[in-house]
């Protein structure tokens, strides 16, 4: 491959940036391949939009449905799964809807039945999409009431603090929750209510922006980034990443 004249540009979701994963991975990638990389961390929706408009070379996102559409529309190629973590349902310590330990569907049903406050990100992010899918699956006839179903349109941490202040439940990825816990000095107003189970998996993938649509993109380097992520070295690095001593992402690259 010819030496790229500019750094590779990655558009990614805030969670990979906020947790520090990229700060950890990117130097290793550069060391391994000699490719320099810059990233823009935004919501999944905007990251996909940047890819669609040829303003990024490669994407790292976690919204499988939207990703498939993106690829199907011809905006991207070579979508590859790289890792996952999981979602947890968190809520106030006093658990007003008494959902602790229930299945995810039971918990959501209880919340909607009792109109306990539920705080949604409402921002089309991967987490938001997951949450909406869960509601559709578990409570198909759910009518989001204006008083108990709050949409914040903000990032995960802000959404959690709003839930904390309001005494509501919310769905979050585990990584962000660990940060939240740490930010609150180990005494968080919200604690984990529901966790585990296949329906709470949070899958991250890498997608290359379609080189024939966008002649300016650095597809070779983008390909190398994806290759490295699913290579044993990359996968091992992901598995070794720790936030506050806890593992956040489970590598499952080269899966498909």
């Amino acid at each position: 491959a010819s030496e790229p004249e500019r750094p590779l540009l990655l558009a990614t979701t805030t969670s990979t940036d906020n947790t520090g994963l990229l700060d950890y991975l990117v130097p290793r990638f550069t060391r391994a391949t000699g490719i320099k990389l810059k990233w823009v961390a935004t919501g999944t929706g905007k990251a996909l939009k940047l890819g669609e408009r040829c303003d990024a070379d490669v994407l790292m996102v976690h919204a499988p449905g939207a990703e498939k559409k993106f690829v199907a529309a011809g905006f991207g190629i070579n979508r590859r799964q790289i890792m996952y973590n999981d979602f947890v349902l968190v809520g106030p310590v006093d658990d007003p809807a008494a959902i602790k330990g229930q299945t995810i569907c039971g918990a959501l049903a209880a919340i909607s039945r009792q109109a306990s406050i539920f705080v949604s990100r409402g921002d089309n992010s991967g987490t938001n999409k997951k949450e909406l899918a869960l509601w559709r699956e578990c409570v198909p006839d759910m009518q989001p009431g204006r008083d108990w179903y709050l949409e914040t349109g903000q990032g995960m941490l802000s959404t959690m603090s709003i839930a904390g202040e309001r005494g509501g439940y919310t769905l979050t990825d585990r990584g962000t929750y660990i940060k939240y816990e740490a930010n609150n000095n180990g005494e968080p107003p919200l604690v984990i209510m529901v966790e585990g189970g296949p329906s709470l998996l949070n899958q991250y993938s890498v997608i290359e922006v379609h080189p024939s649509r966008c002649d300016n993109v650095l597809n070779d380097a983008a390909r190398s980034f994806g290759d490295w992520l699913i290579s044993p070295a990359g996968q091992e690095a992901i598995g070794a990443f720790r936030l506050l001593g806890k593992q956040l992402f489970i590598p499952n690259g080269a899966g498909k």
Partner: protein
């Protein structure tokens, strides 16, 4: 450029169809900006007048402090007001977090330095003989204030318009203190930020145009006021 055009069409649609979410955001914006501007004008004009009118030691330094406060980042103000109003904060009892009133407090803090600095500047640019003339006509200090303000009305209007622009377009405070909660504390700017983050650029543009239309309405009314005065 595609999304600019579709944004424009979308703006017309949102306003003509009377889109409920949009109008909720418009009303929230008007209420919160109205509140914050009233408070900051009420406090800022007298303070700005004193800063421009009086001569006292340390005036120059005070002026510089005000000028520096023009650079208060909104997120910073948002954080401070959040710290005050949060359940764990000193004013948590009042339950103002995630309310329009809470946002207005932050916005008033944002607008205040603008009003003070521009009022002081407008008062300073008044003719030096105005004060002498009013004193000779028997005006009390309070009356001199009122009349000077009226003589400086064009400058003050500019101050108000500038501060209104600042308040209408700020995002940080509304996000942080208001929480951007749909139907409750979502203002036009937080909605724009959300839509943009979602990648809905056209809707973001549309909402931006809605905000500009709102600002135009405000300025139209102020301009009629200016014509009268």
């Amino acid at each position: 450029m595609d999304f600019l055009i579709s944004g424009f069409l979308e703006a017309i649609r949102l306003l003509s169809v009377g889109d409920a979410e949009t109008f909720a955001a418009i009303f929230a914006t008007i209420r919160v900006a109205g509140l914050s501007m009233s408070v900051s004008l009420l406090i800022g004009i007298p303070l700005g007048y004193l800063l421009g009118y009086l001569d006292f030691p340390g005036k120059r330094s005070l002026r510089m402090v005000v000028d520096t406060l023009l650079s208060l980042p909104t997120v910073f103000i948002g954080l401070m007001v959040y710290a005050l109003l949060s359940n764990r904060g000193p004013l948590g009892e009042m339950g103002l977090l995630f309310t329009l009133t809470g946002i207005a407090i932050g916005q008033a803090i944002l607008a205040l330095p603008i009003i003070i600095a521009l009022t002081a500047s407008a008062v300073e640019s008044l003719d030096a003989s105005l004060r002498l003339t009013l004193m000779t006509l028997g005006a009390s200090p309070g009356r001199i204030f009122l009349t000077s303000i009226r003589e400086a009305r064009h400058g003050l209007l500019t101050a108000a318009v500038t501060a209104t622009g600042r308040v209408l377009t700020e995002v940080g405070i509304s996000m942080m203190v208001g929480g951007n909660i749909k139907w409750h504390t979502r203002t036009i700017t937080t909605a724009i930020a959300l839509e943009t983050n979602k990648g809905q650029f056209a809707t973001g543009i549309a909402l931006g145009l809605v905000l500009l239309a709102l600002a135009f309405g405000v300025n139209l009314s102020l301009s009629l006021l200016r014509r009268r005065g």
